[in-house]
């Protein structure tokens, strides 16, 4: 019987040595060590032996079992290594193939810019306020020191709805709505659509503005300049030059327009900036006493600044978009660029 066992062992070891796959090794394990395996079969006959021979044969059988197990394990490692290596070689892919995706969507460029700008001001401490687009003439004009026969109304070609009601021509009416709701301090920015009767290559009857209003006890014109300079440097880059020119708005005094160095030629002069090196982007000023009067604010105690600019223009400058009409044309070939 010992001889049988030795024979089985030799046979098994030979087979293990020749085994080339983990599957074969598993078969070998079953063949020799399994419940119905060859060693088990031999051990089943243990009963036929003399009682004093049994322990010896038993221990030899176990020894052989262990040797076979160890050998299988060793060979398993070697074969597995080879198999994995083969598998790895087989699984080479072209990693330059495009990834599986349904494609990204695109936020409209106006809202991308709007978010960037509101982000800058929110971080400074402003909050967002909004107001109606169909607006009363009172809020759009009168309360902003622009009575009915004021020549400044000429620059606002207004859409009329019915007596006393218009499409707002700027986001400024929200200034008054905000001031009516609270006493100072007030620090808001107002993004939104505005409307003017104008439609050509450089004008759209609907466009977007951003208004800013800060009212407190000691807000100065220097603060206005500093705030807007900070904004321009964040949005257009630190190397952008800024200048303020006196201007006129009925609802601010003193008033200014702000220019930035041309984003195309960096101030050298080109077609976009009409060879001046400057681009006009924003109107601003200290809130007019008459406006405070309408808001019920004490002009002696409080002072503030307001500014307004076109979001579309900012987007056009930032992304070199040549015509405002592209923004509202909803051509997917345009929208998907941003």
């Amino acid at each position: 019987m010992i001889k049988d066992l030795e024979q089985i062992k030799e046979f098994a070891l030979q087979k293990i040595k020749e085994a080339e796959s983990t599957d074969i090794l598993e078969q070998i394990r079953v063949e020799f060590l399994g419940k119905k395996g060859k060693i088990t079969e031999v051990l089943k006959k243990l009963g036929s032996l003399l009682p004093e021979e049994r322990p010896k044969v038993g221990s030899i059988a176990n020894e052989i079992k262990e040797i076979i197990t160890n050998n299988i394990q060793k060979q398993y490692q070697i074969v597995l290594e080879k198999e994995l290596q083969k598998k790895i070689e087989k699984e080479q892919i072209d990693i330059t193939l495009p990834g599986r995706t349904y494609g990204n969507g695109h936020m409209h460029v106006i809202n991308q810019v709007m978010n960037e700008i509101t982000g800058i001001f929110i971080q400074m401490g402003f909050q967002v306020a909004t107001g109606p687009e169909v607006e009363t003439e009172y809020y759009n004009f009168e309360s902003l020191n622009t009575p009915e026969d004021h020549p400044a109304r000429d620059v606002h070609d207004t859409f009329y709805i019915k007596p006393g009601v218009v499409l707002r021509t700027h986001t400024s009416p929200v200034q008054m709505r905000v001031m009516e709701k609270t006493k100072p301090p007030v620090a808001v920015i107002v993004p939104g659509r505005v409307y003017r009767v104008d439609n050509d290559a450089s004008h759209s009857p609907m466009f977007n503005q951003m208004e800013g209003l800060l009212v407190d006890e000691d807000v100065t014109f220097a603060d206005l300049k500093g705030t807007l300079m900070y904004f321009v440097h964040k949005f257009f880059g630190e190397d952008t030059a800024v200048r303020f020119r006196p201007h006129y708005f009925p609802f601010t005094e003193p008033s200014a327009e702000m220019d930035i160095s041309c984003t195309v030629c960096k101030g050298k002069g080109c077609r976009v900036c009409k060879h001046s090196g400057w681009l006009e982007i924003l109107g601003c000023g200290m809130v007019h006493p008459k406006v405070f009067q309408y808001a019920g604010y004490d002009n002696e105690k409080y002072q503030g600044y307001a500014f307004g600019f076109g979001i579309d223009r900012m987007a056009m400058l930032k992304f070199a978009i040549p015509s405002i009409n592209l923004l509202f044309d909803n051509n997917l070939k345009f929208l998907e660029q941003f």
């Binding site: 499409l167 020119r245 044309d329």
Partner: protein, 797 residues
């Protein structure tokens, strides 16, 4: 406004470079639109005199001229023009001359005869738009003189935009005032000299003002025996430099004085005035006047006219009348200089859509104290250029004296507003230089009297602006304010709406941005329900198809789908207001709506997708549900009958009977009509309503430490049974053991009867207290099965 630098220097002789001046004007608030130097490119063009003209032997259309240019031998020049004669003086370009556009003149042979230069037309020198023939110069033009000097081309023309508050800037004297204050150079006004005859104007004419509120001041002069003629070159050139066309000496003088002083004048033919007198009055209802532009205008009683004894002869302050126009036969002139109320001029000018130069000046506010200076300036020029006898005296009616205002400046307020200390003396000096005078003053404040031309100054802040302007905005520091909030909140939706926008973008959708106008006819054609047709209507729309404000974003989405119909995938959304009129409020409601449109292929044409699945209803429903779930909004869905949608694929989303939105397949009939993909799915959600819904609370649920077990079940039910009913019927089954039900297959087709469908459900059981036994799970499964059998007559497969 066009401003000639040479002309400006006649009033204030500053010596700074063009760039410095442009920069200075800009920083004072005068916006420079453009700077042109008309003579910049012209070189070697002189005044020449034609001595001889002979036909060209080889060419019918050419002549051979001898032209003297004041130095050397006369030049032989071949010329194609016909309008000149021997003795005429013309601009002559010599060999090597350069004309506008860099065009270089050289000597060359023309049809065999040598030409040593070129005689120029006005167009060739860019002083006229079009020319027929040569530019014939005034006989007094000095021979051999540089043409740039003679034609005033050695000049710089600034195009300046003037803000509506500074009407006083819209003249040479006004600009000179500003620059003289800045450069501290005195302003020089032209000398006025003319002689009056004994006879007084009041002896043959009169002025009556019936409406002093509309016309506080009206002055007139009578000048007899004038000689109407073309204006001399200097005057014509000045008008041309301002973009005006010379007419005759009298009219040109009134226009010139307007440019110079900013004060509009008008000249009537005195003999055409009935009874030779002027009545300033309001028009009678329906009264008519033919204005100088030839239009017959019907007036109403709010409009002011300058009438004679019988009828209107001018639309006051706006345009003269054709009947009393100064023409070549005019002999006697009535010259008008007045101050009209700005608002009345503005209303009438707008009414007649006649915003003339004069109207623009008057509506910004003219200078009431300039009335007599301006009329005398014009009188002086008329006598100089047209001769004539000036009758003694001005007929100056001034029933409503306009008082000068006074405004107080507290020196320390300047620092408070501007943010920098500006020297007291500097502040005071600036204001005085601008023509203000001191009424009263002490250490701390000064009460200034405002000059008659500064209608824009009435508050302390106006003075502070003047100080800041002259101090220089660029010298004011840039500081960052402390920003504080009162605690009031003005908008709660902005961020949430933006989060929705971001979510949709991450889901692969592209955002559109449309005009919010809509076309009411399209709304009807598309069969929108009645409540969508109650719209905000524009009184002055750009066009009929943009004449209302939108009540839905869907038409915009459809337009975008049409525009992009060649794309094989359209997955777009737009967020924006719609405008819903209400009975009770003046202003409409403006809820923010979200519109989504999916059309075409759901996946891109890419190597890793085997087929191009088309979008279906559930792609869109999934997106909408994700938004609502992201916001924790509780909602129900039910079938709906929105007329734009496919009747079998249309649903609405509700919360407590409030409709939050709709989802559906575009009705194929509409898709056909619009020629867009039939597989188009649309949703419109009311974001205001959604954001008003109280979100579900987020509360931690215990994670069981015991294993869970799954069982699957396939049942056969009626095809029309909504699956949601199966789910709701199982809500109370399982006593906390049934953790989750998955719907993993729905099948209709050959394997099942045609009126049935197979629904495959996966149940997950788990308890927080123990590991569930097979028996416990079996008994729940039994309950589930019996419920389904009872309620839906379900067959277990």
């Amino acid at each position: 406004m066009k401003i000639s630098l040479n002309w400006l220097k006649e009033y204030c002789n500053f010596s700074v470079s063009v760039n410095e001046l442009a920069e200075r004007m800009t920083m004072l608030g005068l916006e420079i639109e453009s700077i042109e130097e008309p003579g910049k490119e012209i070189e070697n063009v002189f005044v020449g005199k034609i001595l001889d003209i002979q036909p060209h032997p080889q060419a019918d259309k050419l002549v051979v001229c001898k032209t003297d240019i004041g130095k050397g031998e006369p030049l032989q020049i071949i010329c194609g023009a016909k309008n000149m004669k021997v003795g005429d003086k013309v601009p002559t370009a010599i060999d090597g001359a350069i004309l506008p556009g860099g065009f270089r003149i050289t000597r060359r042979k023309m049809r065999g005869i040598e030409s040593f230069g070129m005689m120029c037309s006005g167009a060739e020198l860019k002083v006229e738009e079009d020319s027929e023939g040569l530019l014939i110069l005034h006989p007094d033009a000095p021979l051999g003189e540089d043409i740039k000097k003679v034609l005033g081309l050695d000049d710089v023309i600034f195009e300046i935009e003037i803000t509506p508050n500074r009407g006083d800037w819209a003249s040479y004297i006004g600009l000179a005032r500003e620059l003289s204050a800045y450069y501290d150079i005195p302003i020089t006004l032209p000398q006025i000299k003319f002689s009056e005859i004994e006879k007084t104007a009041s002896s043959i004419s009169s002025v009556t003002i019936d409406c002093p509120d509309f016309c506080p001041r009206y002055a007139g002069r009578v000048i007899q025996n004038v000689k109407i003629a073309p204006s001399p070159d200097w005057l014509a050139r000045k008008l041309i430099s301002a973009g005006q066309r010379p007419i005759n000496n009298i009219v040109d003088i009134t226009n010139f004085v307007l440019l110079e002083t900013g004060h509009p004048l008008h000249a009537f033919d005195f003999d055409k005035l009935n009874e030779n007198r002027i009545v300033v009055r309001l028009a009678k209802e329906g009264e008519q006047i033919r204005t100088l532009d030839g239009e017959l205008r019907t007036l109403n009683t709010s409009q002011m006219v300058i009438a004679d004894a019988i009828k209107p002869q001018a639309l006051a302050g706006i345009m003269g009348g054709a009947d009393s126009e100064v023409d070549d036969n005019t002999v006697n002139v009535f010259l008008e200089s007045a101050y009209f109320d700005p608002v009345s001029i503005r209303r009438t000018a707008r009414f007649h859509n006649l915003l003339t130069e004069a109207a623009q000046h008057f509506q910004r506010g003219a200078d009431p104290e300039m009335v007599t200076w301006a009329i005398d300036r014009a009188t002086s020029l008329i006598q100089e250029l047209a001769g004539g006898k000036v009758l003694k005296g001005i007929l100056d009616e001034y029933p409503k004296k306009i008082q000068r205002k006074n405004v107080k400046l507290r020196y320390e307020r300047t620092k408070k507003r501007i943010g920098i200390e500006i020297d007291k003396d500097f502040q005071r000096t600036i204001i005085l230089k601008l023509g203000f005078s001191v009424k009263e003053e002490n250490e701390k404040e000064v009460d200034f009297i405002v000059p008659s031309w500064r209608h824009d100054v009435s508050l302390e802040e106006d003075l502070i602006e003047e100080i800041a302007r002259f101090y220089g905005y660029d010298k004011i520091p840039n500081t960052l304010p402390k920003i504080r909030q009162s605690g009031a909140v003005f908008d709660t939706a902005f961020k949430k709406v933006n989060d929705i926008r971001t979510l949709l973008v991450h889901k692969g959708l592209t955002e559109c941005y449309s005009w919010t106008f809509s076309n009411p006819e399209i709304m009807q054609q598309l069969n929108f329900p009645e409540n969508y047709l109650n719209m905000v209507v524009l009184q002055n729309p750009l066009s009929k198809n943009l004449s209302t404000m939108r009540t839905s974003i869907i038409p915009d989405l459809l337009t975008t789908a049409q525009k992009n119909h060649l794309e094989d995938t359209i997955s777009i959304f737009e967020i924006g207001p719609v405008f819903l009129p209400t009975e009770q409020n003046l202003l409409p409601d403006e809820p923010q709506k979200l519109g989504i449109l999916l059309s075409g292929s759901a996946n891109p044409r890419l190597w890793c997708y085997n087929d191009r699945k088309q979008f279906d209803f559930f792609d869109l429903k999934g997106i909408v549900e994700d938004i609502l779930n992201e916001l924790y909004i509780p909602y129900r869905v039910e079938k709906s009958d929105f007329p734009l949608f496919h009747p079998g694929q249309s649903m609405k989303i509700t919360n407590q009977n409030e409709e939050l939105g709709i989802v559906g397949k575009l009705n194929p009939k509409i898709a056909h009509e619009l020629e867009i993909n039939e597989n188009t799915y649309i949703s419109e959600l009311n974001l205001n309503k959604i954001l008003c819904v109280t979100p579900k609370k987020k509360i931690y649920k215990t994670i069981s430490e015991f294993p869970s077990t799954s069982r699957d079940l396939a049942i056969l039910v009626d095809r029309s049974l909504p699956v949601s009913e199966i789910f709701s019927s199982l809500k109370s089954v399982g006593e906390g053991m049934l953790q989750k039900i998955e719907l993993f297959d729905v099948y209709t087709g050959e394997q099942v009867p045609h009126d049935k469908k197979s629904v495959a459900l996966g149940f997950t059981f788990c308890s927080n207290e123990k590991t569930l036994t097979d028996n416990e799970i079996d008994s729940v499964m039994k309950e589930i099965i019996s419920t389904l059998q009872k309620k839906f007559n379900a067959h277990i497969r």
